[in-house]
Amino acid sequence: MLSCARPAMGLAIALASILAAPLQAGIKLITLPPRERVEIQLDNPSVTLVEEERVVPLNAGVNEVVFAWTNTQVDKESIQFRSLSDPENVKVLSTSYPPNENALTWQVAAPKAGSAKVRISYLIGQLDKSFAYEAVAAKDEKALTLRQYILLHNRANEEFGVSGMWPGFGERFERPIGTNETKQLLSSKFENVPVRKVYTADLSEFGYLDAGKQQLRVPMHYLLKNDAGNALGQFPFMYGKARVYQDDGRGTTAFLGEDWLKFTPRDDEVRLYLGVAKDVVVKRTLAKRDQNRVLGNLFNYDVVVRFEIENFKDQPVTLDIAESMSALRREILGNDTGRPVEWELMTDTPLAEMLDKEKTTADKLLFHVPLTPRGADQQAAKQTIDLHLLIKNEW
């Protein structure tokens, strides 16, 4: 491309032959010599900036420097020329764009003859990046090792040679980038990251596993908190595919599943879905729905949502129970008024003690419920836990 030797040289020769006779002394036409250094800036989420340095021989006076490319998506408008060796005096006077060509000519003034180091920057298409993650959990699933990879996809039809790359955080890389290559680079590695294994009962989000039996689909997630207290928190995590493995205790790992890791700011939780838990059985019923007239057509609804929970695992787990108030109102009224739900959590059941006040909002209540393991007789104790709510001022 840019050095795009053939087209650039072709253009240069054509122009030089026309210009040979009338040129005034000091005007020189040159093409760009090879790259001395290339930096690929990957910090912008949507565009890739290439910076390359070349040493250009300049004559005193006005020089014409031709920059041409072919079969690459260089953003013509973004191309910049900066002199590094003598920025005060080596200056671009103007830029000419010939028709129907991927080329431009800089008119560069130089005070004296000699070599000038210049940096050319441009945005390029088809040279982009994505992120991928690999998590290897310890056998006890209490902690894991998280690796973040950058995948550089070079479909720009250009070989960059050894190039520096920086994603905007973490370390800078220096690797050769060939045409049509995808390069996977380990950008960060975090060890001993505490992991919380969470089972969730949330009808509005995950639905039923068996609607006839009112048995909820209970997904299992790994939760990692992106903060320093949990061996992370150095930067926000960008969107990418995460593959999760577990140490099987025999020197190898087992693949547990994969999920898309969503953009996760610092202090937020990375939530990786690892499949449906069949050993944690949650059945949800409406145990009570009493309509109480307040005045006129204004009613309160006294509602008990009952969860019958069995943990068939031989270890204690935490079940997150989440209830959407707007979904619950639709369930009990059969329609949606569009108004935010006015509710009151009744404190006559143990569940009220387990409310996560930080994460509960006007529409969604969240509770953390510890579940005891299956007994020695292999029987799971059935826990029945009620969510008692007053839905107020509906009409």
Binding site: I18, L93, S94, T105, W166, P236, L295, K392
Partner: protein, 487 residues
């Protein structure tokens, strides 16, 4: 290739073809040019342009071309043919004026031949037997210009290098060689604007007087021997060989701003050329985070704010509409691309707002933490009478809710993971009859939009809490927001 030309004398269709060939020959036969050009001038059959001035508007696809040529007249009625095959010249706009010997020359008529749409002939009665300078003006389309800007922030994000450029593109079908170029910013009545601009001549009064007195030969306007050089420049698309960057004179005229490019430029057909308009070396800026859904969508965006004034090493010109490319020194001997956006005309003294989009290091969440209703009114069945239990009224079973106040406790939760303190401004619009209760010292941006701000230290998390009461149903009396202090 050059298409518009002026031909003088008696002519026939075969002459016409012949002249075209001669013109093409001038452009291509570079080495033979001086002899040919002299021969043309000697014959006075195809008077070349002595000077040409382009006044290019950025608001419309319109360029005023003023060219001068030296024509040899004979006593009596002279025919002048002007044709512009394959160009974008507006034929109704072509005008002829006599720059010298105006008292001896009179334009009798203009004829547009029915079979040649891109041609006209002028009949000129001359009392002169010799050379006179004529000026031809016309509008052409196809020549455009646009501004663009390159900004590079220092690594600390306190100052910007702010450079402005203009790029002229010629798709008019005509090569303009050694043209004086003027660029106009403004969108007023084009006829008036063109008339104003046309008052300013390309040739100075002094030069014109000298020429009229015969003190300066017509060739001074453009010596024939210089034409070889012009043609060369046309071929290579470059107008000059000075080793200094050209200055661009910026001046206001009425409601417009005019940029006059120093010297002359050659912009061949289908080429474009970009030049520096100004260079702001060190413009201080401040950073503000804004939530303005109407302007920036439903996200908190990072803004760089600076002013187009002298204090900011700017302020030499309003900034015409154009694309800004914003970079930052990434502190690792390289640049980071921050943003690319279009800006609208920025007058001298006005603030320039650059939107960098959402920042992954500053997180904004909107949380509804609680909702409740009160002040409920009822309507009695079949009657337009309203009752409220709060007023001690008796409510019957058949009464229906007709008015209420809806209360929402809301949080704007902001987290700053930047190493510097940040300023945040939130503009939140509301529909209906709304009371906004808060201790945030809010103001009203407009009748329905509340504005409040906060400063966050590095690593600080702040919940900006407020309560919104929406008077609904018959409780709604207004369609606006009022502010009240309180939780």
């Amino acid at each position: 290739m050059r298409r518009a030309y002026l031909k003088h004398g008696c002519f026939t269709p075969s002459d016409y073809t012949g002249m075209r060939t001669v013109l093409y020959g001038i452009l291509f036969a570079v080495t033979a040019l001086p002899a040919l050009a002299r021969q043309n001038i000697d014959l006075s059959t195809v008077p070349p342009r002595d000077t040409v001035q382009l006044t290019i508007y950025n608001s419309e696809d319109l360029t005023l071309v003023r060219e001068t040529r030296t024509v040899t007249f004979k006593t009596g009625v002279n025919g002048l043919q002007f044709s512009w095959a394959n160009t974008l010249i507006d034929p109704t706009s072509v005008q002829l004026r006599f720059k010298t010997h105006a008292e001896a020359l009179e334009l009798l008529d203009t004829t547009f031949p029915h079979d040649k749409p891109q041609e006209l002939t002028w009949s000129v009665r001359s009392g002169l037997n010799g050379d006179a300078a004529v000026e031809i003006t016309y509008f052409t389309s196809g020549i455009t210009w646009a501004a663009d800007y390159v900004c590079v922030s220092n690594a600390d994000e306190t100052h910007l290098a702010f450079d402005g450029f203009v790029r002229i593109t010629n798709n008019s079908g005509e090569d303009y060689e050694d043209a004086q170029v003027r660029l106009v910013v403004g969108t007023l009545n084009l006829v008036e604007k063109v008339a104003d601009l046309a008052k300013r001549g390309l040739i100075t009064d002094q030069e014109e007087r000298a020429h009229r007195k015969g003190e300066m030969p017509a060739s001074k306007f453009k010596a024939p021997k210089a034409r070889a050089e012009i043609a060369d420049k046309a071929m290579k698309g470059l107008g000059y060989a000075e080793a200094d960057e050209k200055s661009i004179i910026k001046e206001g005229l009425s409601e417009y701003f005019i940029y006059t490019v120093e010297g002359t430029e050659t912009i061949p057909n289908t080429w474009s050329k970009r030049m520096r308009l100004f260079s702001g070396t060190s413009a201080p800026f401040r950073i503000q985070y804004r939530y303005r859904p109407r302007e920036y969508g439903d996200q908190l965006v990072r803004m760089f704010l600076l002013r187009n004034d002298e204090k900011s090493s700017l302020g030499t010109t309003p900034l015409p509409d154009g694309v800004v490319r914003l970079f930052k020194d990434n502190g690792r001997d390289g640049l980071a691309m921050l943003a690319q956006q279009g800006i609208k005309y920025v007058p001298i003294g006005q603030e320039i707002e650059l939107n960098l989009g959402a920042d992954p290091e500053v997180i904004h969440e909107w949380i509804l933490s609680r909702a409740y209703r009160d002040n409920i009114w009822f309507q009695r069945s079949g009657a337009n009478v309203y009752y409220s239990p709060g007023q001690g009224h008796q409510i019957k079973v058949d009464d229906r809710v007709i008015g209420w106040d809806a209360h929402e406790l809301r949080l704007e939760r902001i987290r700053n993971y930047r190493a510097k303190p940040i300023d945040v401004e939130v503009r939140r619009p509301f529909d209906g009859d709304v009371v906004f209760h808060s201790l945030l010292s809010p103001t009203l941006h407009d009748y329905r939009t509340v504005q409040f701000s906060a400063t966050l230290a590095p690593a600080e998390k702040k919940d900006l809490a407020y309560r919104v009461t929406t008077r609904s149903g018959i409780n709604q009396k207004e369609q606006h927001v009022t502010l009240e202090a309180g939780e």
